[in-house]
């Protein structure tokens, strides 16, 4: 047999009191194991696993005798032997990786037998760990201190640090400075979004060096990942390229074409161009308005015609439309034609074409026309309109005489 170290000694003969005592221990362990149910689905070994107990013997005053379980190396044969208390229960040969149980006075199991223990040499703590547990607990202490439950804190040095202090890059600073260091890159402090480069180191280089991208370094956070990094894939940045993520939009993956391209994209996000008629009306409002309009189109037209049937309203509309036509600065007789058409539509009298200087056999009208011609500076009028004045009596008319450029009323 490969492993030949015999047990150190045989168990003593049992006496009735000892049997009762062992029964008590067994019962107590059974009761205590109730807390195992607090770890549903967990991967941690039961804290009452005798292997763990061997590492951390209870130090309370309870008279619970728990046997230590530990590996003992034997330099002579390069093997490790597993003891529970004084009784050998297993062995491990480091050179071949063979692990076996030792039960009673014989070795059982073949190298293929799985023992829920880890080779002491496989533990990153090496021999100092000794537990052979999986997961291995690196119980190490500062040499000489001998604290078995120190996982890497220098308690002697920490004594000086039991006071409120903040250190920024190794230098003691005020709390405000430490807080500033954290919050200046906080999202709530004005950051617009993220630029994420996956599998393109040139983007990272340009991000720190290109002047084009300088205005965006303070408002966009930047991360550059390698193509096979785990983190970007977990976050959805799975394909190589450049991603721009802002609060209300995201782009990517984009093929990187240089800092100018990236700067243009970032500028569009940082300084969005608002359209002149950018009225943010919800779509449901538009839909409702269209439905109401369709359902009431007849009523709307009827109301409009009723409005225009009133001569005063019609005159006002005609005046407004005439002025609008006059302002079009269209040469020729088109304005006169359009005005005539409008007046016909609205039921207004069609103005007669005026001949400058020709009396109309109406002294008042002649005087008015003469006055208007003076206002036009002697220019030849190309048309005129005569309409009743809204709100006045029927004899009050508004006369507009106009050339191609100006009009006089």
């Amino acid at each position: 047999m490969i492993l030949q170290l015999p047990p150190r000694r045989s168990p003593d003969a049992a006496v009735p009191v000892l049997v009762a005592f062992i029964a008590v221990i067994a019962l107590m362990l059974f009761l205590a194991s109730g807390s195992f149910g607090q770890y549903p689905g967990g991967i941690c070994p039961s804290p009452y696993d005798p292997f763990v107990l061997g590492r951390y013997p209870l130090q309370t005053a309870t008279p619970v005798a728990v046997e230590r379980v530990e590996w003992t190396p034997l330099q002579a044969d390069g093997c490790y032997y597993l003891y529970r208390g004084s009784r050998q229960i297993g062995g491990y040969r480091a050179s071949t990786g063979e692990m076996m149980h030792y039960v009673g006075d014989r070795w059982i199991g073949a190298p293929a037998v799985t023992i829920k223990a880890k080779s002491p040499t496989a533990c990153p703590c090496g021999e100092q760990c000794k537990c052979g547990l999986d997961p291995c607990l690196c119980v190490t202490g500062k040499p000489g201190v001998g604290d078995p439950l120190n996982f890497g804190i220098d308690l002697g040095e920490m004594e000086r640090h039991k006071r409120l202090a903040y250190r920024l890059n190794g230098h003691e600073v005020s709390r405000e400075a430490a807080v500033d260091a954290l919050t200046l890159t906080d999202d709530t402090a004005g950051r617009i979004g993220y630029v994420v480069a996956v599998g393109n180191d040139q983007v990272a280089k340009d991000w720190t060096e290109a002047a084009t991208l300088a205005p965006f370094r303070e408002v966009f956070a930047f991360q550059s990942y390698k193509t096979d990094d785990v983190m970007p894939a977990k976050l959805g940045y799975s394909a190589p390229g450049v991603y721009v993520v802002a609060k209300d939009q995201s782009k990517g993956p984009l093929a990187y074409q240089g800092p100018e391209q990236l700067g243009g994209i970032l500028d569009g996000i940082k300084n969005p161009k608002t359209p002149l008629m950018d009225v943010n009306i919800p779509s449901w409002v538009w839909v409702t308005a269209i439905i109401v309009t369709i359902l009431n189109i007849q009523a709307i037209l009827t109301q409009l015609l009723q409005f225009l049937n009133d001569p005063t309203n019609a005159a006002a509309v005609a005046t407004v439309l005439s002025l609008l036509l006059s302002s079009l600065h269209i040469r020729g007789s088109l304005p006169v034609f359009l005005t005539t058409i409008l007046n016909k539509i609205l039921g207004q009298p069609t103005p007669a074409p005026a001949t400058p200087g020709t009396p109309t056999a109406h002294p008042v009208l002649d005087a008015v026309l003469s006055k208007l011609q003076e206002r036009l500076g002697g220019a030849t009028p190309v048309g005129f309109s005569v309409v009743p004045v809204a709100g006045a009596d029927a004899n009050t008319l508004a006369i507009t005489l106009h050339t191609a450029e100006v009009s006089a009323k």
Partner: protein, 221 residues
């Protein structure tokens, strides 16, 4: 009959002591969601990026000396926040003496990753932890154990804080890194301040971006 009576009496006594001493019964491992389903870890380091604690240089060679919980926790911060310069710190430290304190962190970062921006805090200011988490950063914090995994005994250790609100906290312990460990806020603060009064380390490198939601594409066919 006398031994039996003694056994029964002792059993009752032992059970009472065991129950009374289990003051950390609510500290339990779990996933990214708290056991009560009310909280979720946002600072979620993928399992593939987690490290198990190791030892520094000892008499038996690299990895056999004092523990490296502090460099391990700091490398977790770097792996989460993509601070590439700090990656590999734990392995580098296996050839150096383990055991750490604030000045030593400064020294090893200056040597291994010069230019790394970081903040350290001692004295147990809870607001510092909350602010660091709020800015999306993972925090290295001392942890005093006293939970069932450590047989309810006090330990000296550094882990990573990944969640903290007014009710609950979650840590990533590099001695059992496959899962998170959830506990109440008070239980956590007590264990944070239990070693050195409460020491914390934060890297200032920007945190990872938010989950990417690809823009909706119109269907072309």
């Amino acid at each position: 009959m006398r031994p039996l009576a003694l056994a029964i009496a002792f059993t009752i006594f032992a059970a009472t002591v065991a129950t009374a001493g289990d003051d950390a019964g609510k500290i339990q491992p779990g996933g990214s969601t708290s056991p009560d389903g009310k909280a979720k870890v946002v600072i979620d380091l993928p399992v593939e990026l987690r490290l198990h604690n190791a030892g520094g240089m000892g008499r038996g060679g690299p990895g056999t000396g004092s523990g490296l919980c502090v460099p391990t926790s700091i490398e977790h911060l770097a792996r989460y926040q993509n601070e590439r310069a700090v990656w590999g710190l734990q392995k580098w430290m296996t050839t150096r003496e383990g055991g750490a304190y604030p000045e030593k962190v400064t020294r090893i970062l200056n040597q291994y990753a010069p230019g790394t921006q970081y903040v350290q805090h001692t004295g147990g200011d809870e607001g510092f932890l909350k602010l660091a988490l709020k800015t999306g950063r993972m925090v290295g914090v001392t942890y005093n154990g006293r939970d069932a995994f450590y047989q309810n005994q006090p330990i000296d250790h550094m882990v990573n804080l990944v969640y903290l609100d007014d009710q609950q906290a979650a840590i990533l312990d590099n001695n059992r890194e496959k899962s998170y460990v959830w506990m109440s806020r008070d239980e956590f603060l007590s264990r944070w301040r239990g070693t050195g009064g409460g020491w914390a380390v934060v890297l200032l490198h920007v945190p990872p971006p938010p989950l990417f939601a690809a823009p909706k594409q119109p269907r072309t066919s």
